[in-house]
């Protein structure tokens, strides 16, 4: 398939996916049994007239098809609707939360990929060795630990401390309000707040890269081309680095792109435990009411991000693997 035609096909597929996502997003959230007005005003003296007025204000009195058209219109205009609980546009809310989420998820993602791939290559190369057994066992154990539990344990150990050893890391938030909010000191402070949530994320997700990379390396290890490389007299490290790793990397690339797409949806559990003001936590808050425009808006943003990253993955695959081009 020629390159332009390939690109057009992929773009069209992405556009169709997005359109389907719009419909699914709307139907899904509007099917949820909910009375947002009652939940929002819970515990406040609110007369029936006021509840009625609020329903009209939120557009809940309109028929479903009209709400769908409003929603599509809003999405295409980039407004993404108007959050009921925060009383501002979903686009601006999402933009505000994007920074903290990308900082946390980006840091955790970069460390997980680097650590996971490195450990995976080492383990796979010497499969069955003590190093492999320790690495794989540790990674799989951490992978199966519930995020929430691990986060709480880390929080107690490193924030409160154990016995006579006091903790030294902040228990939550993104910065210390008593410190200046600008300059080097501020960045150091944010970095300090980042340690525990990022560490929790890394410990929970890095195993995926370890296992996939390890498996790919083991698959490559018996290949004749490696024997040829060794026969040429190359050292073990060079054989691994120059010959085995590039070929074993493809499955990991798919996974990296898939995860990149999911990055902005944040990690609800980690953001909640460490009070990190990100998108995952925003979505969680929206679910409680439920704040439909906010849910739909974030759903669209998350989906669009996954669709775009998949598109990029397809294109990257074509660049990385000649076999894809040939087919």
């Amino acid at each position: 398939m020629s390159s332009p035609r390939y690109l057009v096909t992929k773009l069209a597929a992405a556009a169709v996916s997005f359109a389907v996502t719009l419909v699914i997003g709307f139907v899904l959230f509007n099917l949820m049994p909910a009375d947002p007005v009652r939940t929002m005003t819970r515990g406040r003296p609110t007369s029936e007239a006021e509840l009625g007025r609020l329903r009209v204000q939120l557009g809940l009195d309109k028929p479903l098809w009209e709400r769908f058209l409003d929603f599509v219109n809003d999405t295409l205009h980039g407004r993404l609707g108007y959050s009921w609980q925060y009383q501002q546009s979903v686009a601006s809310l999402t933009m505000h939360r994007l920074g903290p989420t990308l900082l946390l998820m980006g840091t955790a993602f970069a460390i997980s990929v680097a650590l996971g791939l490195w450990l995976g290559v080492r383990s796979g190369w010497r499969a069955g060795s003590l190093f492999d057994r320790i690495t794989s066992a540790t990674a799989l154990t951490l992978w199966s630990v519930p995020t929430f539990w691990l986060g709480m344990i880390l929080l107690i150990v490193f924030s409160v401390g154990i016995g006579p050893i006091h903790g030294f890391l902040p228990a939550g938030g993104m910065s210390d309000p008593t410190l200046p909010q600008t300059g080097i000191e501020h960045y150091a402070d944010v970095a300090k707040h980042l340690v525990l949530p990022a560490l929790t994320m890394v410990l929970v997700v890095y195993a995926q890269y370890v296992t996939i990379m390890r498996a790919s390396i083991i698959e490559e290890i018996g290949s004749p081309y490696l024997l040829t490389a060794r026969a040429k007299g190359l050292t073990d490290a060079v054989v691994r680095r120059r010959h085995a790793v590039p070929n074993a990397l493809l499955p990991s690339v798919t996974m990296i792109f898939l995860h990149l797409g999911g990055l902005i949806s944040g990690a609800v559990a980690v953001e909640a435990i460490f009070s990190w003001p990100g998108l995952g936590e925003l979505t969680y808050e929206a679910l409680k009411i439920p704040d439909l425009p906010l849910l739909q808006g974030t759903f669209i943003v998350f989906s669009a991000s996954v669709i775009i990253m998949n598109l990029l993955a397809d294109l990257a695959y074509r660049a990385l693997d000649p076999r894809v081009r040939a087919s």
């Binding site: 049994p33 029936e48 505000h96 920074g99 709480m152 006091h166 909010q181 003001p277 936590e281 925003l282």
Partner: protein, 627 residues
Amino acid sequence: MVTSSSRQSRPRRLQNALAAAGVSAALVAAGPGLAGRAFADGSTAGSGSGAGKTLRVAMDGSGVDTLNPFTAYFNGALDLFGGIYPTLTTIDDAGKSAPYLAKSWKLSDDHLTWTFQIADGLKWSDGQPLTAEDAAWTLNLIMTDDVAGTANGTLVANFESVTAPDATTLVVKTKQPQSNLDYISIPVSGIPIVPKHVWEAHTKDLKDFKNESTPVVGYGPWVLTEFKTGEYAKLDANKTFLLGAPKYDHLIEQIYKETDAAVAALKAGQLDYIEGVNATQFKTLQGASGVQTAQAVGNGWFGLELNAGAKTRTGKPIGTGNPALADPVLRKAIALAVDKKTLVAKVLDGQGQVAEGYLPPAWPQWSWKPADDQLSKFDPAAANKLLDDAGYKAGSDGVRVDPKTSKPLNLRLGIHSDDTQDAAVSNYLVSWFKAIGINATIQPMSMSALNSDLGKGNWDMLMDAWTTGPDPTYLLGIQSCGTLPNDDGSGGNTDSFFCDADYDKLFAQQSTIFDPAERAKVVGQMQEILYQGNSNIMFYNSTHKIAANAKVSGLLTGTKDANGFYPAQSSFWSYLKAAPAAEAAGSSGKDGGSGAGLWIGVIVAVVVVGGGGVLVLRRRSGADDRE
């Protein structure tokens, strides 16, 4: 610290660079000016938010939805407003209305005109005079503008007119006599008064006005100087505050989404004060060093609602409720089957009281208890006898059969899926109900799904909880027939589809009785009707649990009762009266410890990483040799 950017109002990280530039410029341009303008006499902390002592408290987990007091609903926002906007009256230790902006007030003989004497010489935080006109303007706006009435419209629904004939007189005329008028503008739960000269310009864009430009012009014990959505609010003390200056120079309200994290922060000395912790968290805090704990009587109830036959306003049955529950005998039997003392002991760990009356003990002026012969004591044998006598025969599986429909008593028990108390209590209920031949099935639901089902009458039994401020009108109101939905299912905000003509008559009556003791008597009769109806079975009043750094004093007001519980506490007074211990240098308790911890952590990390690395390297070289 002195130069900290206390005026950064756009909070997020992506904007930090932009904000930093903007903030620096704003500080240079406006910093000294603002400090000078902050208070008329210039005696307050104008030196930025760093100097002086800081009280760090956990903000209510709901956070702040918006800083616009006309449209905000979340408790985090309401708590903040209590500190930065004034109200007409406040609440004293006994839960009664007391002077704030209004020095005194009197009621006309026809009970329709209230005249408030507003304190003289007060100034907003920007130096402009605070007069009765500000109060009149705020209340009029809520009465006349739909958006302005979003949060508090109901509180002024009975107002005929509000005027300010002069700077110190506010006159409120009501359509009908209204006995709770001195409670409608109290800190936190009442109407905050806003400065007319600031808000006048925003009446057109009130819905979109976020009010995030700091320092927020207001009057109260505190001034909001910095706000980061989803993170924290920073406030400076108003040292000339009418009801006494705060003892701390600054207040920080920080958001912890998980109470467990806030508890950890308190133990770690990163936080000075939290409230509303659960029984388990409270127990761990009681034993923690450097932490003081206290319990105040609860301002809410926790109980079970029974669907005695959901109907619309015209009496049309709606919903899928089990018709068996329309039988008062069955409801009485259910009430007798619940062992409230066990719930208090096991679920609350003793941190609460058994509840009978509808209104909570935080407001003793409304407390009502059933006479001994009316009391529904835990008595499964009596419950079984009642059901036997009424013809509910047990089937082969032990489940009784409804004699009217010949169907077994299978009842749904809706609980809040995110509430651990609901989960714990419902398990007890299922076994207790089984003992009297009722098969209850627990249905965990999200708060919004549960509310939705409630409004449509699609339920049999629901676990429910409510809190109330000192004026019980609203809580009593949601049990009145007037809150039932329309025939098409729209409207209505009933809590349990309870509807009783006598109750409604008393409800109307109590709102026009101005003698507190007389009103309490009528409110007591209403609670008696509710108690006998068994549509709302009260289980317990959990205490309000407070924990603070031991270095903070003066937090609590009142004296303990026989159970060791303090009277109801309010964040408004707690933050105002909290005082730093003389020797405490700042609020954080473990500064020395954290340094030590850091070093120990670093050393441990070096040893582990270094040792591990050596091990791996040795192993690798060995492996290479083997090849």
